[in-house]
């Protein structure tokens, strides 16, 4: 049984009909590496990288060989089919998904190659690492290619699993295991939202296929649409580390750096943005206005949270992680704007994918060189030791802070512009937040740049945690090449993409709605650059001109302390969920043992006890037996007479 296709959706043909290979190749790679075990140690990394590169090649072929004016549906097999509920295992190849596919396989390929070098001191387990990466790529592709909310959910949890496995890569370390578990759990909270949204869709539209749901939502009541919109947003918050589910993402940096680059910067964490963009037929509805507002609020709050905390952290990767949080906040804010922002959200997502992946790979390169040292206070002056890393990183840095005509400039600029273009005070509030965020971003990124690469080399004379001296060196070619490619992308990507992407995406997410705020587009650009420059300047004034201590200053203002403590987000989680949960669990174990089971055992004991007491009435004296007989007889006779005469 197949589902009906809506207008503008055709059965896949040509290159698009081979799209299943996109998923199958990395999946096969993962399967071979996991099942093959030690036998594949020698060539596992090559297979792992090869499958993803092949998938990328196939994606390119598909991209050029397919007419993206239409949406292509590829039915693979009947997956779940029970009466009204019919779920294909099927793919949808359209402008939106192919964009993501290119990003995932492209950045994925680079990071696979990078990992060959990065993981070379863990040869024994390297093929397992590649298996997990392949698994991730496969799941991520399923997420973006699936043609129903359930296949999306499949990929959604699949990437969650890969993320769990990779965050917990150093499973001998408790903090890694805990971080992995935390990531999975907070994602699951979001997944509940996604799942509930799917249940609502099935109940009200009788289907979970994109085509059927989107065809049916048009005249759905406001309450329903808002509910679905908010539930999808909950899912997006979980996966994309948005407020209030952002806490897992910094912890996820416990994983190896390529993982942070691929999963926790470039691709997986942007799945929430994809979800909202994919659901644009729902969010674009006039009934969904309230839901969109909440999306925007979440995005704006997250921008600020990410930026503020990012300013205070001393951990290289965690600063980048909070940067990711806030940048995804921009994307969420953008897609929350509706038709005015979908395309710019995606645009920022792509450019961010490039420069943030590059930044992480640079961070990885530094840590690779510095015995995994991630404390920026113990770094410094590395630009001379690692020139390629330094320059590629700096390009990524410039792209991120929106340096004119680099990629971040185009994408972020558009978002700020669209936000300012909102009606009334909303425009000022969201636009203002976006601008403020840009300034803060420039501040903390400049701080990072100065502390890591510039200034004095504070690591001389120190020893790493495992007691070795630091001998920074430039990374091998397998690592530098991907960094260079990504840097090139960061520089050039924005300009090209901002030209073509919005139009390309039209068949999938609709026309871009022009906005006209109080400020002209050019003015917004200038303003943004100016604010970024101020942020960077302040950072230089604070960190660039004086020597920073190796030890973290403890006498700091409340604001810094709050930021260092993730704005007390973890404390809140701890106080609201973890500790009461622990108590509740302990209480329930007690109740189950003493209460429920105690009742059962109590009944048994009561019976036994009464038995023990009652048997004492069997005294062995014949006269007391006679008494009980006489008593019984009198009772029987009396009862008979009472029944008869009463």
């Amino acid at each position: 049984m197949t589902t009906t296709l809506a207008e503008g959706v055709v059965d896949a043909s040509g290159a698009a009909s081979a799209a299943w290979l996109l998923l199958a190749l990395p999946a096969l790679g993962a399967a071979v590496l996991l099942i093959g075990g030690r036998r594949t140690d020698k060539w596992g990394h090559l297979l792992g990288s090869g499958t993803v590169i092949a998938a990328f090649a196939l994606a390119v072929v598909t991209f050029f060989g397919t007419d993206f004016a239409q949406q292509h549906n590829l039915h693979l097999w009947d997956w779940i089919s029970v009466n009204q509920l019919v779920i294909d295992f099927g793919l949808r190849i359209d402008a939106l998904s192919i964009t993501f596919v290119l990003l995932i396989t492209g950045v994925g390929s680079l990071i696979h190659i990078y990992s060959i070098g990065y993981m070379n001191h863990e040869l024994r387990d390297r093929r397992r690492f590649f298996a997990y990466l392949n698994l991730f790529v496969s799941a991520m592709l399923l997420l973006v290619l699936g043609n129903s909310f359930v296949t999306l959910y499949f990929g959604w949890e699949g990437v969650g699993l890969a993320s769990y496995l990779l965050i917990g890569w150093y499973q001998g370390k408790d903090f890694a295991a805990t971080a992995a578990k935390k990531a999975f759990l907070m994602n699951r909270v979001g997944d509940v939202g996604l799942a509930l949204a799917i249940f609502l869709m099935f109940k009200n539209f009788g289907s979970t296929q994109y085509t059927e749901v989107f065809a049916a939502v048009g005249d759905a009541p406001t309450g329903l649409i808002v509910a679905i919109g908010l539930l999808l947003l909950l899912g997006a918050c979980g996966k994309s580390g948005q407020f209030p589910l952002q806490a897992w993402l910094p912890d996820a940096m416990a994983g190896p750096t390529p993982v942070s680059a691929l999963i926790h910067a470039a691709t997986m964490v942007t799945a929430g943005v994809y979800l909202i963009a994919r659901s644009s037929p729902i969010y674009s509805l006039p009934q969904a206005a309230d839901a969109r507002l909440v999306v925007m609020i979440i995005g704006a709050v997250t921008i600020l949270i990410g930026c503020v905390i990012g300013c205070a952290y001393d951990d290289f990767k965690k600063v980048l992680a909070y940067s990711t949080v806030s940048q995804i906040g921009y994307m969420i804010l953008a897609v929350g704007l509706g038709p005015a922002g979908y395309a710019f959200g995606i645009l920022h997502l792509i450019t961010h994918g490039f420069f943030k992946a590059g930044l992480f790979l640079g961070a990885g390169s530094v840590m690779h060189a510095m015995n995994d040292e991630g404390d920026i206070r113990r770094l410094g002056g590395l630009w001379k030791k690692m020139p390629i890393t330094f320059w590629t990183w700096t390009l990524g840095y410039l792209a991120l802070i929106g340096f004119p005509f680099l990629s971040g400039f185009f994408s972020k600029d558009e978002i700020i512009n669209a936000a300012l273009g909102q009606e009334g005070p909303r425009g000022w509030i969201f636009g203002g937040v976006a601008l403020l965020g840009a300034g803060l971003t420039a501040f903390y990124m400049t701080r990072l740049l100065i502390l890591v690469f510039l200034g004095k080399a504070r690591w001389t004379g120190l020893k790493s945690a495992d007691g070795k001296d630091y001998h920074p060196h430039e990374s091998p070619t397998t690592m530098t090449v991907p960094m260079i490619i990504l840097a090139v992308g960061s520089v050039a990507g924005g300009f090209i993409l901002s030209m073509v992407l919005p139009d390309f995406l039209v068949p999938a997410i609709g026309e871009v709605q022009e906005t006209h705020g109080a400020l002209s587009h050019t003015m917004v650009g200038i303003l943004a650059v100016a604010i970024s420059a101020i942020g960077a300047g302040i950072a230089y004034l604070i960190f660039g001109r004086s020597e920073q201590p190796v030890e973290r200053p403890q006498r700091v203002t409340f604001a810094v302390r709050a930021a260092r403590a993730d704005l007390f987000g973890n404390h809140l989680n701890e106080a609201l969920f973890a500790r009461p949960g622990t108590w509740l669990t302990r209480a329930l174990v007690y109740v189950d043992n003493r209460g429920v089971d105690g009742l059962v055992n109590g009944i048994a004991a009561g019976l036994g006890g009464s038995s023990g007491r009652l048997r004492r009435t069997q005294t062995g004296f014949v006269r007391s037996y006679a008494l009980s007989m006489l008593g019984g007889s009198i009772l029987v006779v009396a009862a008979l007479l009472v029944v008869r005469f009463a």
Binding site: R615, Q618, S633, A639
Partner: protein, 535 residues
């Protein structure tokens, strides 16, 4: 005072005393074909007494055993022969004192078969050299002679005729057509039992104590029974069951007589059936009596007593069931609860089975107060199944022994499965049957009784019964746990390899238990063969 008491007893008619009419007195040649089984059993008992008088000591045992077995076989043959052309509605015999109807025949058959098993147990001399009975009852316990008789091989062979007398009494008891016959039968079945209880070879103090208790309480209960008979005679002017039934429809005497009489009568019957709260003698006597006698009592007395209860309730009191059924509901509940709860903490196997029998009496009573054909046939079937299972149970108990005789304390049964898997397996099966696990006769018995009860609108009582079964299941399980899951005690008892007689008895019980669990249809059909004559 006089007015009041007069009102009490003679409310509806205290007229002047009428002169007694001359009774008709004629003797028809008694129709004996129907009662041959009873006559054979009682005749053999008399012959057995003569054997005791005239045979030399060493010949008595074989002669008695052969005589008893022949008598039982003969009675069985006579019963089978009569069955082929027995009138469907039953017939009366011996001046209408006995009524031989289908339920009576079923009960007789059951009694004969159970008695056969019991006699086999009684006759066994392999488990305890010389048999389970004292060599000479007159020897005082604790004396030199007593210690000598423990190892002697002789036994008091009067046990065999006593058994046959008791059996004859039981057969008459459940076929009595009037209450006087029933009273006489009650005494005929009881008096030998009192004696036999005191004849254990070992632990004679306990045995004698059991006898004294059983005797005193039995006589006490007989008095109640008899007073009930007298009051009913006063109410109905007759002790014939059918005439009491007729009188309940339209007697001019006070119902006080009826219900007081009935109550006392029923108490006497419930005592024999060891229904709680009239069960107090049961654990003590079961524990103290020689195990073969306990088996005989537990199996046959229960059958006879419930045969009597069924007949009395169904024939004489059916039309007043509305008044008394609630009371017997209560009695049944008390019995089930006492049996189930007190059984939980017993430490002696025989006492435990005694309490089990109290609980089972409660279940049986449920069937007995379902005054339908189904209730009758279900109770009869239950009696059949219970009799054989409990017979086998005591048979097995007699096998587990240590230096001082039977090892009945439960702690001595720990790890029995390791010492003797077969005995443990058989006993487990028996316990499961007592607990009412499917594929044993115990389950089918419970099922048919509960089915009849629900059909007769007693669903709540059935639920109580089911819960009581679940509670009771614990103490059966406890024994299984001990036998299988516990480590055997270092100086634990040994399991005697039984001789042919005990083996045959246990096999009989177990096979019937299994057969009636797997394919109960034929026995269900027999039990449903007909109703009491005179209903």
């Amino acid at each position: 005072m006089s007015v009041m008491s007069s009102a009490l007893f003679l409310a509806q008619g205290g007229g002047p005393l009428a002169p007694a009419p001359a009774p008709e007195f004629s003797i028809d040649p008694p129709a004996l074909t129907a009662v041959w089984p009873v006559l054979i059993v009682l005749g053999a008992a008399c012959v057995g007494v003569l054997f005791e008088a005239f045979l030399p000591r060493h010949q008595r045992w074989p002669a008695q055993v052969i005589l008893s077995l022949l008598a039982l076989a003969g009675a069985g043959v006579a019963l089978a022969t009569y069955l082929t052309d027995a009138p469907a509605g039953g017939e009366t015999a011996i001046f209408d004192a006995l009524v031989v109807d289908r339920p009576a025949l079923f009960l007789w058959g059951t009694l004969l078969a159970l008695a056969l098993g019991s006699v086999l147990l009684i006759a066994d001399r392999s488990v305890e050299p010389g048999g389970a009975f004292v060599a000479t009852a007159a020897i005082r316990p604790g004396t030199v002679q007593d210690r000598a008789q423990v190892t002697a091989t002789g036994m008091q062979t009067e046990v065999f005729p006593l058994t046959l007398f008791a059996l004859g009494g039981m057969m008459i008891f459940c076929a009595s057509n009037d209450l006087l016959t029933m009273f006489i039968a009650l005494e005929v079945l009881s008096l030998p039992l009192y004696l036999m209880c005191g004849l254990a070879r070992r632990r004679r103090l306990l045995s004698q104590e059991a006898a004294v208790k059983y005797f005193l309480l039995g006589a006490f209960a007989s008095a109640f029974f008899l007073y009930g008979v007298a009051l009913l005679y006063g109410y109905a002017g007759s002790v014939r069951l059918s005439e009491i039934s007729a009188a309940t429809a339209g007697s001019d005497r006070s119902d006080t007589l009826l219900f007081a009489g009935m109550g006392l009568l029923v108490v006497g019957l419930l005592f024999k059936a060891s229904v709680g709260p009239f069960h107090t003698w049961t654990p003590d006597v079961y524990q103290g009596a020689p195990t073969p006698i306990t088996a005989f009592m537990a199996a046959c007395t229960k059958v006879a007593a419930f045969g009597g209860i069924l007949r009395v309730l169904q024939v004489a009191f059916e039309s007043t069931s509305w008044e008394w059924r609630g009371v017997l509901w209560g009695v049944a509940i008390v019995s089930m609860v006492i049996g189930a709860i007190l059984g939980l903490t017993q430490t002696d196997v025989k006492r435990m089975i005694a309490y089990s029998s109290v609980a089972h009496a409660g279940f049986l009573l449920i069937g007995a107060i379902a005054l339908t054909e189904k209730g009758l046939s279900a109770t009869l079937f239950y009696l059949l199944t219970y009799g054989f299972t409990t017979l086998a149970a005591f048979g097995v108990v007699s096998l587990v022994r240590d230096g001082s005789g039977e090892a009945t304390h439960l702690s001595q049964w720990a790890g029995l499965a390791k010492r003797s898997p077969l005995v443990a397996g058989v006993f487990t099966f028996i316990l499961l049957a007592l607990a009412g696990i499917p594929l044993t006769s115990g389950f089918v018995g419970k099922f048919v009784v509960f089915e009849a009860a629900i059909d007769d609108g007693m669903a709540p009582l059935v639920v109580v019964a089911l819960i009581a079964s679940a509670v009771a299941a614990f103490f059966y399980l406890r024994v299984i746990v001990l036998m299988y899951f516990s480590e055997p005690a270092a100086d634990g008892p040994t399991v005697t390899v039984p001789g042919a007689f005990t083996t045959a008895a246990i096999t009989l019980g177990v096979l019937v238990t299994l057969l009636l669990g797997l394919a109960p249809s034929f026995a269900l059909d027999w039990a449903a063969g007909g109703v009491f004559a005179g209903r």
